[in-house]
Symmetry: none
Subunit: 215 residues, 4 copies
Amino acid sequence: MTEEELMLQQLFDEDKLTDKQKKIIVAAIETFSEKGYAASSTSEIAKKAGVAEGTIFRHYKTKKELLVSIVAPLMSKFIAPLVVKDFHKVLDREYETVEEFLRATIENRRDLLIRMLPVVKIMFQEIPFQPELREQFLELVVENIFNSVEKVIIGYQEKGLLIDMPPKSIARLTITNILGYLFSRYVLFPHLDWDDDLEIERTIHFIMNGLGKKD
Amino acid sequence: MTEEELMLQQLFDEDKLTDKQKKIIVAAIETFSEKGYAASSTSEIAKKAGVAEGTIFRHYKTKKELLVSIVAPLMSKFIAPLVVKDFHKVLDREYETVEEFLRATIENRRDLLIRMLPVVKIMFQEIPFQPELREQFLELVVENIFNSVEKVIIGYQEKGLLIDMPPKSIARLTITNILGYLFSRYVLFPHLDWDDDLEIERTIHFIMNGLGKKD
Amino acid sequence: MTEEELMLQQLFDEDKLTDKQKKIIVAAIETFSEKGYAASSTSEIAKKAGVAEGTIFRHYKTKKELLVSIVAPLMSKFIAPLVVKDFHKVLDREYETVEEFLRATIENRRDLLIRMLPVVKIMFQEIPFQPELREQFLELVVENIFNSVEKVIIGYQEKGLLIDMPPKSIARLTITNILGYLFSRYVLFPHLDWDDDLEIERTIHFIMNGLGKKD
Amino acid sequence: MTEEELMLQQLFDEDKLTDKQKKIIVAAIETFSEKGYAASSTSEIAKKAGVAEGTIFRHYKTKKELLVSIVAPLMSKFIAPLVVKDFHKVLDREYETVEEFLRATIENRRDLLIRMLPVVKIMFQEIPFQPELREQFLELVVENIFNSVEKVIIGYQEKGLLIDMPPKSIARLTITNILGYLFSRYVLFPHLDWDDDLEIERTIHFIMNGLGKKD
DNA sequence: TATGAATGAGCTTTCATTCAT
DNA sequence: GATGAATGAAAGCTCATTCAT
């Protein structure tokens, strides 16, 4: 089993879902991602999953519970590991430069990110409207992840590889650029021609060196 | 009348809307922005606007037409001027450096952006789901704006103030960072403490110099 | 002015309708005839007539009043004359045979009937549902017309040109066949090829001689 | 189970309708027939059927689908058999004369026709407005039935019992008179006194011998 | 456990009618 | 008289949720 499959499995299989439940979740992700949560009907999800409408409500008391059951584990189990996973390597000086670290991080997670994109899309769509999700997101992403990211940043700062901006701002700017690229690439303009490797390289270069010409 | 009020006026008043129509639009923006398009009911909008529900449909044949009538002019009349407006000054070398240009651009538009934020929020929420809006957005933003932005970028490149990355990528990265800041600041984490001037300065600094330490 | 125009005029102009009123009536006839009374909206009629919706209600208190104002004069002023008109000629023995009478009657009224068809269609569509119309229809058509038709029939019977069936039945059968032809021809199957003269001849022949082969 | 009940059953039961569905159909027939399709509301039908309004739309996606589901089987399963049913007997010379054939046909179907009258009424009311129904009607009634009726007519013509008019015209005239009688009897003037047997006899006599006096 | 018919509240939309201009 | 914006009741229809099987 590949690393990605393992991770997907971690997302949803842990609680030993029945076959029907898995089908429901897959159908729900597809539908929510395509039309948005509010515009998706449980009957459509049921049809797509090949189950009766009642079956959905046997497993999830309400439609919102279904949404939360999809997005919540993403936040608690997936995003944190995604970001934090290789930090020990970084701290162990496996990557001499930030560029190398960013490149390795983005590259070896890109496929996974693409595959998770539907769920990520749902997450960002619904966070503004679902207080439940927003709270979770703040707790997990802001308080947990940002804090651990800080350590890495401080590490690089101590090595003299990053400027002295506050780690929180550095984190924000870095994440913004990675997500901004993915959002442009896969959500806003998926139909344009993209040279992904090149564009990632540019993004990394930009993150590190900005747009100003040095001479 | 301030410049901003003028612009808001341009957005919606141009066609000489009746009083009720203005109330409907204001109520619709507020509701769509708070709950999302699909989760907003026309009856709620009507109530908030203080008009009969039928009145909405006298002016907008469908609920979607109401949405489009709000977002479309934003795209055609607001975003383009916002970005393009002062370009002649730039080209006329009014700003010696890109930093100055960015700072002036962001600062003198921030208030306006904040005030337009509900509509901008609606726009980004719905673009993934409304092909109509997506098409308009692609046409206007990508094809028009990107092309004019290119000229400014090339101007600065020729002056040796910007690196030689393709202008499209430079545009994408710059816009991403500005919107990324605004999105973090006003949509995701509006409740956190923000030192706006400082954060904008950091964003500009980041855009120009990246995160790498020069020495 | 042709005889038909005169008759149309009698139908609607008598009360010195304004220009707008005439347009409303023409539009209403067209719409009711195409879609049926209940499925026609006053706004559609107004648009087709080129007047404001309020204008309709200035002249006709309700939508039903508009319907009645169209169908009622047809029944009182048009149908009766149509049938009765030349009876004095008949009684004066202008037509030696019933065939001649039928032929003359049908032929010199066919164009008019065709032109009135929309109103006739409305009339028959709505009589089953509008008690107001049904009553008028019974009074006028059954009690008035049938009675006068009886005289003609009796006249021919006395001349030995018609069988001794009760005049009411003879009237019903004759009218049924003429309307049945027109209904098949113009309502049910207007798109089929019809040799009208021949078909009318057959109808007359059938009315007189039936289908049975003699000798 | 009588022949008629069997036929009604064939009309609607075939697809194993639930109890509620049957109630909906019965209520819809009653309502459509009384007020016409466009003037009938689904809420009224639901109330009359004793079901929730949503139940109607669970079984019929639209109101029009409900209409079609009532009228369509009438046309395909009921009218064709009604007309064609005993033709083999006719062709087998069970009826020596056309009169006998007509009499037998009308008489042994009259009850059924009366019971089906609400549906027949709906059918004729809506055919002019529903292209869907009109097409079906043309296909079934014109192309199928007329063609089979032609054979019988030709049979009688060969036997010298019918005049040499084209079979299509003979069919039209015969059907017109039968339906014309039923329409006058049950739709236009149901409240008048009718001696049904006598009137049918007159209709048959008229069809065969016309109105002209032979001597 | 799974089903899917049934529900009814609530949705978007239509429409005859009113009324200030 | 004529207008057309405004109305609100009622239309057709959707949908999350329930429950008997």
